[in-house]
């Protein structure tokens, strides 16, 4: 076969080997086998889901870190409550003894009042602005001093509110009863009035959500008055309705040692794995109301103040029952904390596994990259050497000049 110029072939071979050299160099410098989608379309597509999974695992790990602190704070608060209850039991046992004077019993009652305050403080523990025992209503303290009567800031003698005064649609008025532990959450619709709210309160009393005697009336000063609550523990009223203004406890109506729960019984769950969630909060309704922690302490205070050994003994027994109940409510919380710890370990391993899988998908080991580079360099050298050898070869080189 007749052979024409070898220049195009040499140029093509040089181009190919230089492209291979550039690829090998890129692999060494980036440690990646896939530097653009076309290098391996399937691996590139798989990387999308793998990277999303990595991001999820990172976020689960962050969630765990955040929740560990939050839940450990809640657990520490409950631990404080346990300590307070144990102290109260000790005080109650001591107070029930027939040798204790009335004066000492009164002093013990004051001591238990301090313990109750401490328990309330624990129940109102917040972590980074979130009240831990408020259920999902976590932006305000869940346990509030109860009063028998609340009045609105809106209204005056000159322009009194009336039963026909319109409420603002979608605004909410909440009445929490310390005795029943129940709450009436009233969301106004158009064109509801204070009279409709009053009817709802009456119905709630009938249903047992609110204690007997809780009513809505317009007082002499033209304000809405909710109460007087004839129960022994009082209520807490709040509203965001501008038609009512703010609701504040009427002067002198606070119920000593009584606190109403203004949170709710809802819980939040947070994902800490692709198919694993943990419940992150313990509502005060179950941790404190259901266990009768505050009620039992209030009862012990009253018993100590009464001086009756029998009553003190019974009240102390009630505190013991509450202590046991608190211990039981801590179990799920402790289990969740334990689950967080084990999941954190699992996610740490999962992160490693994902990184390994991603390296296998698009990465290249340094040794392989270096070998590829050496091979490409060798090939390129061979092409250049062969071209340098062959291209200058012509008959002219052998013809004598002149």
């Amino acid at each position: 076969m007749r052979v024409g110029s070898m220049v195009p072939d040499a140029q093509y071979a040089m181009q190919q080997s230089q492209a291979a050299l550039a690829t090998a160099l890129q692999q060494v410098s980036t440690s990646l086998r896939v530097n653009q989608l076309s290098d391996d379309p399937a691996a590139s597509a798989n990387m999308v889901s793998s990277l999303a999974e990595s991001a999820n695992v990172d976020q689960y790990t962050k969630n765990i870190s955040s929740l560990q602190s939050q839940m450990q704070t809640a657990d520490a608060s409950l631990s404080d409550v346990v300590t307070s209850l144990n102290s109260a039991i000790t005080a109650g046992t001591s107070g029930a003894s027939g040798t204790v004077t009335l004066a000492n019993q009164a002093a013990t009652a004051t001591q238990v009042q301090g313990l109750l305050s401490s328990v309330v403080a624990s129940a109102n523990t917040s972590y980074q602005g979130t009240y831990l025992f408020g259920g999902t209503s976590s932006s305000t303290p869940p346990f509030v001093q109860a009063s028998t009567t609340f009045t609105s800031s809106a209204g005056s003698t000159a322009t009194p509110l009336s039963m026909s005064t319109l409420l603002t649609p979608d605004m909410v008025t909440t009445i929490s009863d310390a005795a029943t532990g129940g709450s009436l959450v009233y969301k106004a619709s158009s064109p509801e009035t204070i009279g409709d709210l009053a009817t709802a309160i009456t119905n709630a009393v009938t249903a047992g959500t609110l204690s007997a005697g809780t009513t809505a009336t317009i007082n002499a000063a033209g304000h809405l008055q909710i109460g007087p609550n004839s129960g022994t523990d009082g209520i807490v009223v709040s509203t965001n309705d501008p038609a009512l203004g703010s609701m504040t406890a009427a002067s002198g109506t606070d119920v000593a040692n009584s606190y109403a729960y203004v949170g709710n019984s809802s819980v939040n769950s947070v994902q800490i794995g692709d198919s694993l969630s943990v419940t992150t909060n313990l509502p005060g309704s179950s941790a404190f109301l259901g266990t009768n922690v505050m009620g039992s302490l209030k009862g012990l205070i009253s018993a100590l103040q009464s001086g009756s050994s029998v009553q003190i003994g019974a009240a102390t027994a009630a505190v013991s029952t509450a202590l046991n109940a608190v211990g039981e409510t801590r179990v799920p919380l402790d289990n969740s904390i334990s689950e967080l710890n084990s999941q954190e370990t699992f996610l740490g391993q999962e992160t490693v596994n994902l990184k390994t899988a991603q390296t296998a998908l698009v990465g290249v080991t340094l040794s392989t990259a270096a070998t590829n580079l050496s091979q490409a360099e060798l090939d390129n050298n061979a092409v250049l050497a062969a071209s340098a050898k062959v291209l200058p070869q012509t008959l002219l080189s052998y013809l004598a000049p002149g």
């Binding site: 990387m47 999308v48 999820n56 980074q128 602005g129 976590s138 809802s266 992150t280």
Partner: protein
Amino acid sequence: MSLSTSLSIAVQALNADTGALQGTNNNIANANTPGYSRQTVIFQEATPTENGSLSMGDGVVLEGFQSVRDELVQTQIQQQTQSQSGTNAQLTTLQQIQPAFTTSTADIGTQMSALFTSISSLSAAPANSADRESVIAAGQNLATAFNTTSSALTTAQTGLNTQVTQDVSQINTLTQQIAALNPQIAALTGTGQDGGTLEDQQNQLVLKLSALTNVSITQTNNGGETVTTGNGTALVVGSQSYALQTAPSGSGMLQVEDSNGKNITPTLSEGDLGGTIQTRDTTIPGLLTQLDSLANQFGNAFNAVQNSGFDAYGNAGVNFFTIPSTSSIAGSAASISVGVTDPNLIAASTDQVAGGNGNLTRMTALQTAALSSGQTPGATYSNLVYQVGNLTSTATAESSATAASLLQLNDQLSSVSGVSIDQESTNLIAYQQAYEAAARVVSTIQSLFQVTLSMGTAGAN
């Protein structure tokens, strides 16, 4: 038979060898000229002189030069060039599009993942305003990623539309030049001569034309060429060229029309113009449709979950993404945006309480839920990534394969038509020696003339 006849034969030989040297010189001079076909010298024995029963050779005549060609290989090169140019046009655009889908800090997959992780983070502290802000920022980043990717596709499409005009303009210039050469070649071949240089020029023009579009070449009897597009639309007939033109189509893109105004766009499948049209009208719209569907379906699915929950004010959630309705999917990726600016409007809860996170769980579940297309958002995007990668990879492989094939064909053509310096050097030596020999004959005859002339004078002295 006489010395004069011999001298005449020697002079003819000198002339023939001079011509051969000139032909060799021309070959060497054009050794690197693209499209040049080497020429061979055609020597012809002169008609012998009859002298009675004696037939005497009368020397050599230089008949002319003949270009050496292989029309079959030439045609194959044209076809491969069409194919390669079409592939390269697609490859160039795909390489521009590819980075928009490559995993980075700003691609859709990364931003979608970031949105879900921001929601997961918020679920741990649903009332936290900083975490709520982060969700809005992540949503905006995702919307921007959709906008940017869509823009990369439409920008490439617009660029290709401009390329159509340029290609058509070049095609018209080339067809004019080809048509202008036809009568010149016909004139040469009509006198029995080889088209030579003119045919080389025409072949080069046809090759350039092949790089632009799919053409069919028919050799005419007089050596010229008739050029038509793939579907038979005439571009060159004899000395007449027929210009293509562009006109806006219903889609807003330019369509290519023949000289009669007939739309021939769908028939242009190869060459730069064919590849450009294929990418502009099929590849990019296909990707855009999928991208728009993803943006639309994801945005609407997210809004549906947002609408089912309650914001921090206790109100039902309003749309998070602003997006065209499901009935108007086109343009969704380009126009999607976040309509919520107040972080409290994120509908995190299912119980109308600001601290609830029930609806955030539903939002994160979207990551693994099938869209109306039947695939999860991540899988849909992965599929797009695969398609872009695969299209680019396939085009790269095709381009490499046609380049290798073209190299082989050019080698094949070069083995027939290419100039070999070594061969020309040996020819040079051969013609030089022949010339020297002929010159020596002249010199010898001159001596013989001298001897002959001195025959009379020798006796007189």
